[in-house]
Amino acid sequence: MHEYLKLENISKRYDDKIAVDNLSLSVPKGSIYGVIGPNGAGKTTTIRMIMDIIAPDAGKVLINGQNAVADFKNKVGYLPEERGLYKKMTLEEIISLLAEIKGCSRNFINERIPIWLDKMSLGEYRKKKVEELSKGMQQKLQFITTLLHEPDLIILDELFSGLDPLNIELIKNILLEEKRRGTTILFSTHVMEQAEKLCDYICLINKGKKVLDGRLAEIKSRFGRNTVHVEAEGDTSFVRSLPGVEKVTEFNNYLELKLNETADSRAILKEIADRLMVRRFEMLTPSLYSIFIDIARVDPDELTRKEPAL
């Protein structure tokens, strides 16, 4: 596995709290890597340290096995969580400016602008000012400015925040296209369902510490097929007390049950079906969300001891 980006034991402390605590992670080249955790987990601080916007108190950030070199900034496309643009500039001007300071030539920029604007269906707005665009259009424009210079590494903080559903689909497709080009993509989010559909690798962090990381598929299988989704009509509160049910997580219109090792899933199905009208009873790998909820409750130190890292 060739690592494009590697963090070695980085830490960052603000006055009263530790934002990132001894965090290490490896991002393989050409992968989509999700840094996942609740608000305040240290995701933005980690990303800012990767971007060299703030310096870590300890530890190293390695790009291709080296300390970040001067032209690294030209090879990375970065979209912070809070996204802004010069409101008074035209689309063309802002795209050109941000691409030029990434070291792109005028010819390259002029050639790429129409391609990207068409891809994002913003072609007719080329000479319009940024302030004339709707919020959704501005989001698409921000993605153009992040990607136009064909970066080797794309870093997106809170990828899905503020995106409308149509744009989420559009951006996902564009990121998959970038991945095929060999680009390494790292993003952070607290929206786990979206992350699950996009990531090859994930790192769960909580309170500045790594909870769990690795290939998404492996993590899911490691947590076993001990999860059951139940959709049933009526009062489901009794499910919690059935033998073998370790934990129940309620979602909008279904329950996710976590079973222990001795559980008999057939007995449980029978029990529920006897009392209620069952629409769905599905055994599957746990969602990222339930894994996270499950693990984050335990002290991360504790967890690392019980479950050696992959």
Partner: protein, 433 residues
Amino acid sequence: MNKLWILIKSEYNQVVKKKSFLIGILLTPLFMVLVTVVPALLMAKKSATTEKTAIIDLDKQGIGEKFKEKLAEYKLDDGGPAYEVAEILTPDPLDSVSIATMKARLDSLILAKEIKSYLVISPDIENKDTAFIVAKSFGFRTSGRFERRLSDIVASLRLEKAKVGVSIDSVLHLTRSVILSEKAPGGRERDFLTVYLGGIIFVMIIFMTVIGYGQILMRAIIEEKNSRIMEVLVSSVSSFQLMASKIIGLGLANLTQVAIWIVIGMGIYAFRGNLDIRADIAEILFNPVFIFFFVVYLILGYIMYSSLFALIGAIVNTDKEAQNFIFPITMSLIFPVILASYFIQEPDSTTAIVLSLIPFFTPTMMILRLSFMGVETFSLSNPIILEAIIGIVITALADILIIWVTARIFRIGILMYGKRPTLPEIVKWVRHG
């Protein structure tokens, strides 16, 4: 192309392409012309007509007639009489009712603009020493002339009565006053008002452009901080490049503006026609030594104060919060102007020298002193030139220090949202930056 240069170009264009830039360039000189040239024009026009006046002679010894003769000596530029005495009134008898009627009639003539003024010669003027002039407004020129002529006539009357046996004309000739005119070393004529205004104009240019562009810089930083584009930019360039590009880009816009003003000023002077522009203003405008120091101090002062504005922009979140910090900056820039009327008398006093070598005051104070003292040639043996050069070195060193401090605060400040940092926090940024 260098990233710094790309950003400088972008900052420069963002300012220069705005309509407000063009308006500022055109309106400011227009305003200056309005307050300087127009009154001069109006005054020139006014003095070109004959002033009508009248005399009430309550003394009744023929002073009124003599005064009329003396006034006839004043001529306009075109050779016509400067004054015309419409009538000389000698009330008889000298009762208060007829005097009041007479005055009332002349008052109404003034209101009807038939006459400009009238002179009332008091009874027994040679002992009481009083007379008065009635007019809607008083030009200092006319009052001065009336007073001098009337004094001469009364003096001659006294001499005659004292029987001094000397001819009146010879006494007046012997007691005539000396004309005192003001000149700078080197023999140039210097007029208090022109020197004062000349110096103030250049300091005001520094003051207005530095405050103006400093605030544009600060607002841009606050806005970009709030719109979060800062974070996108620092992913491509260093925070120092970002700060430098803003200061340099706006600085070039500032210099463009001042250069256009200087060219406009020279143009107005070249095509002044018969406008009465003082020679010493031209000497300031066309004096390469002075202009050299002016441009250097404009640049150094701009760098110092715009860095401070950048610092404020980096630590506050709104324009409103920034206002508290702007006040001391404005004060330290305008401080020399407040003291200008004192320094014009003693531009090389120890106080003036010491104050002009305190970096925050140097740019404006040194320009004031240079224009008050007048500089002819670039000679180091002239103490003011030497002091101006020492001032440049001190200000440049202060600029470097301020930029260093600002860069450290800027780096962290532009990424801080929400709470404004406390002073100890800022000190920590500077020490550990």
